[in-house]
Symmetry: C2
Subunit: 329 residues, 2 copies
């Protein structure tokens, strides 16, 4: 029952975000700039970051005069900006089972559309800001910087043969963690200046972000292609330095180690080898290890909510946590 009500709340938030953004994009000119963005934004996405920002604001202040919907949209647009440009850099074909923006149009269109989406993110950020506006601007901009740095590290890793697990965690905490951290901090900052609450919710968000990324790495191997929206094993084909691959490199011995090293050296494998490598992951216990790691981050995030028990109403954040981590396995 509680869960159903919560799902309804999320659905409501999601449709407000989608409608507001699409209405805004449809009203703008030139069409050559905004139509590609309408295509991209209509192509799917769970809007988890905007939902999380609203939940954080609500957890801090149950009696909101109005929800920080514009700031939630700003975060969502910043996230989508990074997706558009990342897809160019990774030369990705599809996202949510639809053509990526630069494949549907061309690189120039996608570069410029991404830029305009970031501009729109800042526009939303500055609407109806009631308190802590300078802090919120700084938080948002800091997230943007750190996400770029994380993406640069991710690109560096592609051409490097050696990447440690620590470097991997540093990269994903920048590429994925920082934005979700700022999502939670901004949600809190719209309602309070209490630093403890803001910092703790930020930590909560960062942990979720890291868990998200490991989950993403894991789903590439065990996920359902339809719900995940991309081909199983594509990280293996591209030779991406995922949590799974780096852990496998640590654990493998003998023949397995030779195969893992070969994949790294050749910067990926042919699609007909995917099954073989997934089996190596299972044999080495990497799949279980990843699940445990995700569960560990989930628990740490949960613990933070407990620590904040007297300052916030954590019920919905707890529901969010159980919903987004441990999704389908």
């Amino acid at each position: 029952m509680k869960n159903q009500q919560f799902q309804k709340l999320l659905e409501n938030y999601r449709s407000i975000v989608n409608k507001t953004v699409l209405d805004e994009l449809k009203n703008r000119k030139p069409k050559s700039l905004y139509d590609p963005l309408i295509y991209f934004f209509s192509s799917g996405g769970k809007r988890l970051r905007s939902i999380l920002l609203l939940l954080c604001a609500n957890s801090v202040n149950k009696e909101l005069s109005s929800e920080p919907i514009n700031q939630a949209i700003a975060i969502e647009l910043l996230h989508n900006f990074t997706l558009i440009h990342d897809d160019i850099m990774d030369n990705s074909e599809k996202r949510h089972n639809k053509l990526t923006l630069h494949k549907k149009y061309d690189i120039s269109t996608a570069v410029l559309a991404g830029d305009a989406l970031l501009a729109l993110a800042y526009e939303f950020l500055s609407r109806d800001l009631k308190q802590n506006s300078e802090k919120i601007f700084q938080e948002f901009t800091n997230a943007l910087t750190v996400v770029c740095e994380g993406q640069a590290l991710d690109k560096e890793f592609e051409t490097r043969n050696k990447v440690s697990i620590d470097e991997y965690f540093n990269m994903i905490s920048r590429k994925t963690g920082a934005l979700i951290k700022s999502t939670c901090r901004i949600g809190a900052l719209t309602q309070t200046s209490n630093e403890l609450v803001v910092n703790k919710l930020g930590e909560f968000g960062e942990l979720i972000g890291i868990a998200f990324q490991i989950q993403d790495d894991l789903f590439d191997v065990i996920g359902d292609e339809k719900t995940f929206g991309k081909k199983k094993g594509s990280d293996l084909v591209e030779g991406k330095k995922t949590y799974l691959l780096l852990k496998a490199l640590q654990k493998a011995r003998g023949k397995d180690l030779i195969k893992i090293k070969k994949l790294i050296k050749s910067k990926g494998i042919k699609p007909d080898k995917i099954k073989e490598y997934i089996n190596i992951y299972y044999d080495l216990g990497i799949i279980d290890l990843a699940k445990k790691e995700i569960e560990n981050f989930r628990q740490r995030a949960d613990l933070i909510l407990d620590e904040l028990k007297s300052q916030i109403d954590s019920e919905n954040l707890k529901l969010f946590l159980s919903l987004v981590i441990n999704r389908t396995y």
Copy 2:
């Protein structure tokens, strides 16, 4: 004498901007993200926008407690962000006689470097802001949006056969005018909330921006290759819808008209035809027309300074105007 002192002031501003930005970039990691930006920012640029912002602030308030150097840098970085991404979209080889960023490195590096530079622009914008911070953020973001829209129009024009002079002016007032308008408005806003002064200085900036762009179109045909930093006639080779080309299309008759239409239809000419087309421009009086148009915008900008005589100290802005418009012909 006055002129010499003024040149010294500009040189001083320019070196502060360059040093502050390069120091900032050199302190950052990862190098794979920031080294390309150091290359780009060291490759040249007159820093006119940052200088203009400082001059506007000074014209409003002679007794500055401190100069809004961070906001001046923010505008300069926003401008450079647009250059990096525009060079990708236009597939330009060189800028300031050096390889463009995506040619020196690759497209992915240039996309991400541009993004990070925009992030840094917002970081500088938020430093030491003393008044009107929300207005300044909105002004800055609005400029970013409008510049993207102008670039989209410019790209549209490449594939369209018909573009009117009015459409051209709309495009350049967005692509080039908006940022210089915001430069002047932000300079003023750091010192005053007087709307008349802010608006008038904004108009002044927009007029300069439009004059700049027509001058740019003109220099492609009559400019010195070395000081201009690109090959003479490259707009003709690319078939760009410049002020000169659109005016020539209006004025030409007979054989000339056929040739102009041919250039437009073929989306450019071979380099060995450049001289022929430049001669057509001279014969049709297009060169003189462009000079008159620029002079007209310069005069209108000058008039605004006269209108503001009792509110600001316009001396340095007048010197700036005569320095940047009517530069070498």
